[in-house]
Symmetry: C2
Subunit: 253 residues, 2 copies
């Protein structure tokens, strides 16, 4: 029974895509059948895993809006046990198209039903907003991983995100819970990073992962090669910490 | 006649808010009457300029959706010559509410008409998406400043943004042009930063500002004090480069 987890945070640039693809790749390489769903019209998770978006026949837009069978939309990646449902800019049209439909938050949940049990883990990379695409992801998930950049604006947005998760839990998806909060782009040399970590740990206690992702330039280089960090540079600090995070996520689940 | 400029990029976390509030503050301190419009439901530009969102009577949502007179929505800031139209999470509801209305992309343009001529410069901070709120900002503007983070995913998204600007120009706002592209979070120690700058300069030539914004921790500390960098730490590198950018923007316009 595939565990479906959204990787979400409406604050932009906090490491959602980097966490979704690198965590998924580490878990896949441990032998678990894993799927990444790219639900961001920017399509960063797709290009970060080497998908050439210009040559795609179908993407997530076709799955949700045109009801193309999911088996025709799923692509394999260059990582063993890791598949992806890719996204292209076409997905930007879905927000407006779904806005006027009934049951608009359940389209993704219903369309992944047929293949859910073929994967052990499914990670949904969300766009930087709390709009209809993110609501679809939260509705399709059992839990949420929240990447939290160690900066002031990111901390400021956390309560809005927690409120939205509780609303979705109350109104649409009773199973939804917080899988965990992971600190990203931590820079031990700055007081700001240390203050953010202290404040969040005190407030969220056990919901915070012990693994902290530091700022590491190899993580930002890997996407230009279409590879997750464990393939691009397995000996880098970035690869090491995402392996640690994968171990922690597997243990806790 | 106020020059209205959107600060936009659908990629998240590239420095839109940081550029909007610091550029606006530098221009205001040179004696120009300046307004920041926060059109992002995260409300980062508002808190970055010291606005306490819990005590606000009105925000941009009231202006666009409830047609509250603009003079009642505008707030002053602690910076001379700088006002703001603040945003709160209420604005997140505007996307869905506007989706079904005719003329949905023109609400902001029409609502700022009454005060446009009271300001020399108006900067609109956009959310990380190309949805209805950003289209409203582009429609209300004469030009766009594009903050470009020196990273792969940010570069990948640039062509989508340029396409969207040309579409808005063709269909809705013939005056719209690119004011300039400004590199942000530049780290001279990484090849990635240098490669991104080289590629973009070759392609966009004169549309790129000479001023490059380096990574500077004081810029990320300033928002927690509700102050722009020139007030928080006037002698920092961050303050210096945004002053330089202000000079360049004033010269070009
Ligand atoms: N730990 C890290 N160290 C250095 N760079 C990082 C790290 N994590 C992410 N990055 C880089 O920072 C940028 C933002 O990360 P990413 O795109 O994963 O965030 P996001 O939350 O998915 O953004 P968006 O809100 O646009 O979807 C990217 O260019 C990425 O390569
Ligand atoms: N030059 C810089 N050096 C260091 N930190 C910076 C710099 N510019 C911005 N930051 C920090 O990086 C983070 C992202 O910047 P900012 O919030 O301005 O981007 P944004 O594009 O407005 O994000 P969003 O897409 O969420 O609206 C913030 O925490 C900000 O304080
Ligand atoms: Mg992303
Ligand atoms: Mg912003």
């Amino acid at each position: 029974m595939g565990k479906v987890i959204s990787v979400a945070n409406q604050k932009g640039g906090v490491g959602k895509t980097t966490t979704a693809i690198n965590l998924a790749a580490c878990i896949a390489l441990k032998g678990y059948k894993t799927l990444v769903i790219d639900s961001d019209p920017q399509g960063n998770a797709s290009s970060g895993l080497g998908i050439n978006r210009d040559r795609l026949k179908y993407c997530i837009y076709d799955l949700i809006i045109n009801e193309v069978p999911i088996k025709e939309v799923v692509c394999s990646t260059r990582v063993r046990n890791l598949d992806i449902i890719p996204a292209t800019i076409q997905l930007a049209g879905a927000e407006v198209e779904l806005a006027s439909r009934d049951n608009r938050e359940n389209y993704l949940k219903e369309s992944i039903q047929p293949i859910k049990d073929e994967y052990d883990w499914i990670f949904i990379d969300c766009p930087p907003s709390l709009g209809i695409l993110t609501l679809n992801a939260l509705n399709a998930s059992r839990s949420v991983i929240i990447p939290l950049q160690c900066e002031y604006y990111a901390l400021e947005g956390l309560s809005q995100l927690i409120n939205t998760i509780s609303l979705v839990k109350k109104r649409m998806n009773r199973d939804l819970s917080i899988e965990g909060i992971v600190f990203t782009m931590f820079d031990a040399r700055t007081n700001l990073s240390i203050q953010v970590v202290d404040q969040v740990k005190t407030h969220f206690k056990r919901q915070v992962y012990r693994t902290i992702i530091p700022r590491n330039v190899r993580l930002s280089e890997a996407p230009s090669h279409g590879k997750p960090i464990v393939v691009y540079d397995p000996r880098s600090k970035g690869a090491e910490v995402y392996q640690d995070l994968a171990v922690e996520v597997l243990k806790r689940a």
